[in-house]
């Protein structure tokens, strides 16, 4: 609880911004849905034959899983506000439509007959009798839609539309319960508050409700515009960062501290941010230095001239006992030492991500080109389990390790790629569920060891010192051994479109700040 309060006070602005975005997303979509669904609901009461089909169709929309729906929408509407609102709009349709239809259908037939009989026109019947009497039911529909939307709006964070989902997904990515709560709690509160407010309105009688309807017509657009309030005074470059980068101490916060820069950040799913910068949805993203997409999307990596990011040299880490008992294994893995530099790794990643060649094939081609490839040794040896985190580079590394070990030793290799994040792989290795996985020095230093500040400042700019430090500490603290680094430094890097960088003459992060 204390942690949560600290988190809120440390992130006041961000919390406020996300709450406003969340409210905005909820109500823009609610407004759109009401504008469409209420007239549509009225229309199908006049055309009962259509009602079954229309209600069934909106019912089917409701059953599409939200993530799948967002996925469908990206090719059509891109990322950001539009697809998020459209998805929320679709989810809000059914409750409003169904309740409008039900509310109007259930107006007493005698009342309608009397109304027509004494000379109300059809329009007057609708405005003076049917709508006022159906209003409580229509309101119940709006209420359901609002609560659904507050919930589903958390998913907007997946496609860069912000909202409280940023904390929730960031928290999940970083295994940080406080952060998850910081998103989930306000979201739940919003749902409860809006639900209760609407309940209050719904329970007043139809007459007062019709009076309340007018201010409400003003309030909903006002709440909708909440989404844009934060943007209105947001300074700096627009940047798209994945949740993990936003949350890690060596990520966004480090850039801010080192360069004194202020970005208007948008949380984007890892897989989406390259596309977003490419299509000018944002100007800066935090990529990985060796990512294949840097080439594919014609991005420029900005030089980290003040060393905000620690070095992330990659090396396999294994149980110390296993490494010492099997010199052959260590020697085999060390065959790769220093052979893969940044650009080689980028090419390997690109071949998998864009040429759609399997990691297994890419690894074999590389080993053959390096003259390292050997056919599989005899079967039936002891089983060695290799794990990895869940991104392309790690899949390739697992294949490289696996093919080498199969070729040079008696082990039978079992691969477990894509286990998840750092913490999961690290725990699996310590518990002996896997025998080795590729790790990065910077991650070992800051995420797993988290050394005192002065130590960190002393070694952070020197790759060798970092490697020495993590090797020593991992052996001492966890009984794990770092083997020789493979050669490339997959550090975080800020990137922007090559063309834009060129035209503004930006080569380093310092240049970026100057152009702000």
């Amino acid at each position: 609880m204390g942690e949560l309060i600290t988190f809120f006070s440390d992130n006041q602005e961000k919390v406020m911004e996300q709450v406003l975005e969340h409210i905005g997303l909820t109500f823009i979509s609610l407004l759109l849905a009401a504008v469409i669904a209420i007239p549509a609901g009225i229309f199908i009461t006049r055309r009962p034959r259509l009602s079954g089909g229309v209600l069934a169709f909106t019912g089917i929309l409701q059953t599409i899983p939200s993530i799948a729906l967002l996925g469908f929408l990206i090719p059509i509407l891109g990322i950001g506000l539009k697809p998020a609102i459209f998805a929320l709009f679709l989810y809000a349709l059914l409750p409003i439509l169904r309740n409008t239809y039900t509310g109007i259908s259930e107006v007493d037939a005698a009342v309608k007959e009397a109304a027509l009989g004494i000379g109300l026109s059809k329009g007057q019947l609708l405005r003076q009798v049917e709508l006022p009497l159906a209003l409580p039911v229509i309101f119940a529909g709006l209420r359901t839609a609002t609560v659904i939307n507050v919930g589903v709006a958390t998913l907007a964070a997946y496609i860069g539309a912000g909202g409280l989902g940023e904390f929730i997904f960031g928290g999940i990515a970083l295994n940080n319960a406080t952060m998850i709560l910081a998103g989930a709690l306000p979201a739940a509160l919003l749902a409860i508050i809006f639900d209760q407010l609407l309940a209050l309105l719904q329970n007043t009688n139809a007459r007062k409700l019709s009076k309340a309807g007018k201010p409400l017509l003003l309030i909903i657009p006002l709440l909708s515009s909440a989404y844009f309030w934060p943007q209105a005074y947001a300074p700096g470059w627009s940047a798209g960062f994945p949740p993990e980068f936003m949350g890690r101490p060596d990520g966004y916060q480090k850039v801010v501290d080192t360069y004194g820069v202020d970005f208007t950040t948008t949380i984007l799913n890892n897989a989406l941010m390259y596309k977003a910068v490419y299509e000018s949805e944002v100007d800066v993203i935090s990529g990985y230095a060796t990512d294949g997409r840097v080439e594919a999307f014609r991005l420029r990596q900005l030089e980290d001239d003040r060393h905000a990011f620690p070095p992330y040299y990659c090396a396999p880490i294994v149980q110390k006992k296993l490494a010492e008992e099997n010199k052959k294994l260590t020697e085999t893995l060390n065959l790769l030492a220093g052979r893969i530099n940044d650009s080689v790794m980028t090419v390997l990643n690109h071949r998998v991500d864009f040429d759609k060649i399997s990691p297994e094939q890419v690894a074999r081609d590389f080993l053959k080109a390096e003259g390292l490839w050997r056919a599989d040794q005899k079967q039936g040896g002891e089983t060695l389990i290799i794990g990895s985190k869940i991104f392309t580079e790690q899949y390739i590394l697992v294949e490289l390790f696996s093919q080498l070990i199969n070729g040079y030793t008696d082990y039978d290799v079992d691969t477990r790629p894509g286990l998840g994040g750092t913490k999961i792989c690290f725990d699996a290795l310590r518990n002996g569920e896997i025998d080795l996985y590729p790790e990065y020095t910077g991650t070992g230093l800051q995420v797993l060891l988290n050394p005192p500040q002065d130590t960190l400042e002393r070694i952070i700019t020197q790759p060798d010192a970092v490697y020495q430090y993590v090797s020593r500490e991992f052996e001492a603290q966890y009984g794990l051994k770092w083997l020789a680094p493979l050669g490339f430094n997959n550090t975080y890097a800020l990137m922007m479109r090559e063309a834009q960088a060129e035209s503004m003459d930006i080569k380093s992060i310092s240049d970026l700040i100057r152009q702000q």
């Binding site: 005698a110 009342v111 027509l116 009989g117 000379g119 009497l133």
Partner: protein, 322 residues
């Protein structure tokens, strides 16, 4: 005033109403009666175009109603239904004011009219005007329904089983009050009922329908005295006694009444065609102002007091025994 010719309505292969024709003068009341499904409600609803006729015409004051804008047409016809259909979100006063408001009456005029109607129907304005329909009893709701139909002073009133939803006691009471309404005397009224006593009590003409066809269209006593066919005879037979009772008129006992006022005072003039029972009722109600009544038939005037009328009524009953 209102006239139909060959009014017919078919639903698919089923003919609900076949060739119904009648003509009503101003101030007359037509009671449409018959067993369930005989087409009486359908006939009524064709008069204000809630149902469009398959064939035939309706004229109001010589004008073909199918040529008139439907909303205007309906605003000139009061409409009362069995389930009342009061607007639950409107107060009593607002319910009554619906049509005058649609017609653009001034607020003060609407208010005066609403108050007057409530008063006439025996609902205290102060107590009822601001109530909502769900706070009223069934009888009170029906009174409001009637007030709403009469609010804009339509020359024609259509009523579909107006007392059908009420319990027998309330029903009797409301029916009496209703017939005594000053407002209604000058109206041309067409009402649907399945209660033959009600039809005989209220209708100056009764139209008995069966399977969509008119069996007999005549004043109530004609149906009793000379039924047009066996169906009519059977239909009235069961309640013949009550009907006869209800159809006995002032003129039937005219010869028994004294030519000179039996006591001094202001005489209440009553029509000789007024049913005896109603004459008794009216005189009883007016006792404070009028100690006696009078009626004129074939150029002669006769007087009567309440005890005298009741005596005459008894004699009338006695005559059945002979």
């Amino acid at each position: 005033m209102i006239k139909t010719q060959g009014l017919t309505r078919r639903f698919g292969d089923f003919t609900a109403v076949r060739e119904v024709s009648f003509e009503l003068q101003e101030g007359q009341t037509l009671a449409l009666i018959g067993p369930s499904g005989c087409g009486k409600t359908t006939t009524l609803k064709m008069l204000n175009r809630l149902i469009t006729p398959s064939a035939g015409n309706v004229w109001v004051n010589g004008q073909d109603i199918s040529q008139q804008p439907v909303v205007q047409l309906r605003r000139q016809m009061g409409y009362v239904i069995q389930d009342m259909g009061l607007f639950p979100h409107y107060t009593v006063a607002e319910n009554i004011a619906v049509v005058p408001r649609l017609l653009g009456w001034e607020v003060s005029k609407i208010k005066a009219r609403t108050g007057a109607l409530l008063e006439q129907l025996g609902l205290d304005t102060g107590a009822f005007a601001q109530k909502y329909p769900n706070e009223l009893s069934g009888g009170q709701q029906q009174r409001v329904g009637i007030a709403r139909a009469l609010a804009a002073n339509p020359p024609i009133v259509l009523m579909d089983e107006p007392f059908g939803a009420l319990d027998p006691l309330t029903r009797q009471q409301i029916r009496r009050d209703f017939m005594e309404l000053e407002e209604l005397r000058s109206k041309t009224t067409i009402m649907v009922t399945h209660d033959i006593e009600e039809a005989f009590e209220m209708g100056s003409l009764v139209c008995l329908l069966n399977r969509g066809e008119v069996q007999q269209l005549a004043p109530p006593e004609t149906l009793l005295q000379s039924p047009a066919n066996e169906f009519v005879a059977d239909f009235v037979a069961e309640k013949a006694a009550q009907l006869e009772l209800r159809s006995a008129k002032l003129r039937d006992i005219f010869s028994e009444l004294p030519e000179a006022p039996p006591l001094p005072g202001n005489a209440l003039p009553l029509s000789p065609t007024l049913p005896l029972l109603r004459a008794i009722y009216r005189l009883a109600k007016a006792r404070g102002k009028h100690p006696l009544g009078s009626t004129t038939y074939q150029g002669q005037q006769r007087y009567f007091t309440l005890p005298l009328l009741i005596e005459a009524f008894k004699n009338n009953l006695q005559s059945w025994a002979n």
